[in-house]
Symmetry: C2
Subunit: 366 residues, 2 copies
């Protein structure tokens, strides 16, 4: 029986052939440029895919929170993790110290006070923690401005005996605002250029900067064209999503993860309701397509409205054969929060379910 019939819905389906192709392609690209890959685990949150990435040559993993790092290290899939985030609070510092006993850890730092607390705790525990200074290249989230602001932080952190500056990092997620493919490349290259210039400034001031690290799948093939970037942290590339279609970068057949949904109501000729709403699709908007996801076999259909358990699909003339009970695949706008909503993903190969992977880092927000 094919996967569309054998599974209950809504659920996550990962097409293994596409996943393998995506992992291999990024590994080959990075190798061709001599850049290290430290894939972001937030996209898949599974030990199985972490292992695939390591086998393809990744140097370790990137996590958003300590909780993700804990379960992925405990699974045995990773033993070298960058938490690309600021670690604040006594509970978290103790958890980080515990993780340092069983894996190589790095974290981001963007302020003196938080860094000092981290350093004091490490020194007291007789440890030294590797840190990357976080640089704001335009997203305006965390991180300091490139250049002098980062240098001033480096001078303070450089004196802290519990910390060791290993390099600098940015997340150039502001490429999401790009108007077209050329604009995206320009924004990404600007970010990369500012980051590399900051690395140079730090080196001129005596700092040993090994790691110059960039993130973001949409920008992956652009930021990394700047000479001096040493590491990339793409996440979404393993699955791709509706965002990734933008500007023709990938096609839907390169999107490995889909939501399998069932039509549960056909209350009007131009309207179908599926059993997948915001609790399954998430609510991230798509800059490339109206609505809350891409309906694989009905690309002209639009998911115009979601409530938690309902997706309301507006059907053009060519999609009105959809009937109650039909199963459809939906590519999410943003795959990472979608994965976070489920406990497992079903693995499909040649159209049949061949496995089930636990989303072990689901919900690890702490």
């Amino acid at each position: 029986m094919g996967f569309k019939e054998s599974l209950d819905t809504p659920c996550l389906v990962v097409h293994q052939e596409i996943l393998e192709q995506n992992v291999a392609e990024m590994a080959e690209y990075a190798a061709s440029r001599g850049i290290k890959v430290r894939p972001h685990q937030k996209t898949h949150k599974t030990a199985e895919i972490a292992r695939m990435q390591m086998e393809a040559g990744a140097i370790g993993g990137t996590c958003a929170k300590l909780g993700e790092a804990e379960v992925l290290i405990d699974s045995g899939a990773l033993d070298d993790v960058l938490v690309a985030n600021e670690i604040v609070g006594e509970q978290k510092i103790q958890r980080l110290l515990a993780l340092m006993e069983r894996a190589h850890m790095m974290v981001a730092v963007d302020g003196v006070d938080a860094a000092q607390r981290l350093s004091d705790a490490c020194e007291q525990a007789g440890k030294q923690l590797d840190v990357l200074l976080e640089v704001n290249t335009g997203l305006n989230r965390a991180g300091l401005k490139p250049g002098e602001e980062v240098l001033a932080l480096a001078e303070r952190v450089g004196e802290m005996r519990g910390l060791r500056i290993r390099g600098i990092m940015t997340h150039e997620g502001h490429v999401a605002a790009a108007k077209d493919a050329d604009d995206l490349v320009e924004i990404a290259r600007d970010a990369g250029t500012n980051l590399v210039a900051t690395a140079k400034l730090l080196r001129q001031n005596g700092f040993d900067i090994d790691v110059v690290s960039v993130g973001s799948t949409p920008a992956a093939f652009a930021t990394t064209t700047i000479e001096g970037i040493t590491e990339m942290r793409p996440g979404t590339y393993v699955f791709n999503d509706n965002m990734a279609f933008r500007f023709g970068r990938v096609t839907p057949d390169r999107c490995a993860l889909r939501i399998l949904a069932t039509v549960v109501s056909r209350p009007a000729p131009d309207r179908a309701v599926v059993d997948s709403g915001s609790k399954t699709l998430a609510m991230d908007p798509s800059p490339s397509k109206k609505g809350f996801g891409y309906v694989v076999d009905y690309p002209d259909a639009t998911i115009v409205f979601v409530s938690e358990e309902h997706g309301v699909i507006e059907l053009p003339e060519n999609a009105r054969d959809l009937k109650v009970g039909d199963r459809i695949e939906i590519i999410p706008n943003h795959v990472c929060p979608t994965v976070n909503l489920q406990d497992e993903m079903f693995v499909v190969r040649d159209g049949e379910v061949v496995g089930c992977w636990d989303v072990i880092a689901r919900g690890k927000v702490r």
Copy 2:
């Protein structure tokens, strides 16, 4: 130690005094109008609050999916559940039959084909399932148009021997589009009027309509003023949220559930970053306030941007004393999807943590 210091963040905090007040107020209101309460469980997803609602006089629970019903019935908190949704697919029909062995179940029906499959399965199992016909009073999700469309369905379902029509239901969630308090009341009363008129039409045609059921907390005190409504299914009222502030209906001190967050970065004078992003706050927009939540002690601060693990707060002059490590409470825009993102909620009374409730129906999308 107060809850703000003792808990790791981000996490859900429920203020028990406010919760108790909210549950009591709705029970009193319904009793004063002679309307039965069948609270929607999707808001809290916990056995503890289901029990509180039953003790306050609820006649049973409403669930969005069978999976929610399964865990809440298994917990012993509920033995009478309406799944206010269409049940489609063989796996789900079998699960529903199994639930009918241990609880009184009702489900929504809005189409002949799906109803026939349900009926056939019930008949084959020697059972009869209570159903409510779903009426679309303006949300344009599932449900048939009031009046003749519903009557036509009733005539077909009335012949199905596995089903018993118990009444009709609507979800008047389209009050969310109201422009002001008067407009909200008008939309809700229109929905209620159309629903009651449909019940009358069905009765005139010989159908025994016991249940005339409405949903939606924002509309709860308006729809139920229409004579002939017998049952209400409010959900959000137990906690309230940023949506509930609209038009002055409630004040923030009636919002029982908050996200406790930590400031992790202060990269610019007018910007703070907290450890709570879309994976904690969810991304539902608020029609009443810009941004992704209401910062309790800094009502003029705006959460202008969220990524998965970061909330970026724009700070007006009067909120710039926020520093790294500070803990703040955030009231979510829409509390239901926020609760769905966590495995537990911490119970606070008199400012101290007094318990922890498992969100047992989290992620039950099937």
